[in-house]
Symmetry: C2
Subunit: 212 residues, 2 copies
């Protein structure tokens, strides 16, 4: 689950092209290039997680152990690199959500997911920073929409199960989620505070008859 998908790229290739006469099609990617691309992604995720999206591309290159030109060969723009990270992060989150929707009791799935996402945000400034600072009108918009729809499903299930108030709309949940994710990366947020803060929000979301 924690391994990055090796077939993901920003060229949008699907499968291999055995046929020639395909101008501008995706080439198979050499072995070392593949390795470097992964190193860069990993390094970028670490660096941006620590210092936020304003960290320099050179630092990413250094951490990955490659020259700066290599980074720009794989990701022609800093934005593109950021997008690739976002895509991976959101993809993983999305998978986790689908799993949760299947396994967990339908009433609690939403709470579990929100908790996990906030936990992630505390470690990864990237998601949050990107959503906030950079324009959200990226190509990533589709991934965001996927995530949004997924949360909508979890919410609907919880409402059917009677654990969440019926008058709560998806917008508010998203708003609360992004807000708390933002807050989670401030100094002074530890596990305890996160838990207590979420408890308040969850209490606010819960249907009166389902409160403990």
């Amino acid at each position: 689950m924690t391994t990055t998908n090796p077939s993901s790229g920003d060229t949008g290739d699907t499968g291999e092209t055995g046929k020639k006469g395909d101008p501008g099609g995706a080439r198979p990617l050499r072995a070392d290039a593949q390795r470097n691309r992964e190193r860069i992604l990993a390094a970028a995720e670490a660096v941006f997680a620590e210092k936020g999206p304003s960290a320099s591309t050179e630092e990413v290159a250094a951490r990955a152990g490659v020259a700066i030109g290599t980074v720009f060969k794989h990701f022609p723009t800093k934005q593109a690199l950021l997008q690739a990270i976002m895509k991976g992060l959101l993809g993983r989150l999305d998978g986790e959500m689908a799993e949760l929707a299947a396994d967990e009791a339908p009433g609690e799935a939403l709470f579990t997911f929100v908790t996990r996402m906030v936990e992630q945000a505390a470690r990864k400034r990237t998601v949050v920073g990107l959503l906030a600072e950079t324009g959200v009108d990226l190509q990533v918009a589709s991934s965001v929409r996927m995530l949004r729809d997924g949360i909508g499903t979890l919410l609907a299930r919880s409402q059917e199960a009677g654990t969440v108030r019926d008058d709560v709309r998806l917008d508010e949940v998203i708003a609360l989620l992004t807000g708390i994710c933002q807050g989670a990366l401030h100094a002074g947020w530890d596990d305890d505070l996160r838990q207590r803060t979420l408890a308040i929000v969850f209490a606010g979301l819960r249907a009166p008859e389902a409160r403990r």
Copy 2:
């Protein structure tokens, strides 16, 4: 309430210095200088409110109708300018809070204050942006502490009045507040969404016996 306090400065002068022999003390400030300082502050507040703290100092100068050197004469650093704005903003907020603590019913004062602060945040990226992006270990720390203490008082009053659960601590309230302020400046936040989001949080804060 909306007028800026003319006697506020970052030199920390209190009253006039009629006595001489005050090395390094605050000079009376010439008339045009005073006017420019206010213009710069107003312009900076507007610009940073629109574009966030990453807006350039030159844009502030342009909006204020002065040269860039003038800005740096009054505020030797961009940080200093940001701090001055923060100080003013927090001061106003603090006054509003004191008023609220006196006037309003003790049980609802906290809710009213939080609502107002979030409303402000939606318009002023500065407060939020600063608290988030720049280090909070500024000289502004004292102003922040003042605000924090004030909120603590409002919270305590509400708990005494029985409208807020006893196990809620100040940390969580602050966390929620900053988080929602962060969220409030995202695209798509309108009055309705803000109100609904706050309603959820308030429901979570309210004591069981005080719920409507």
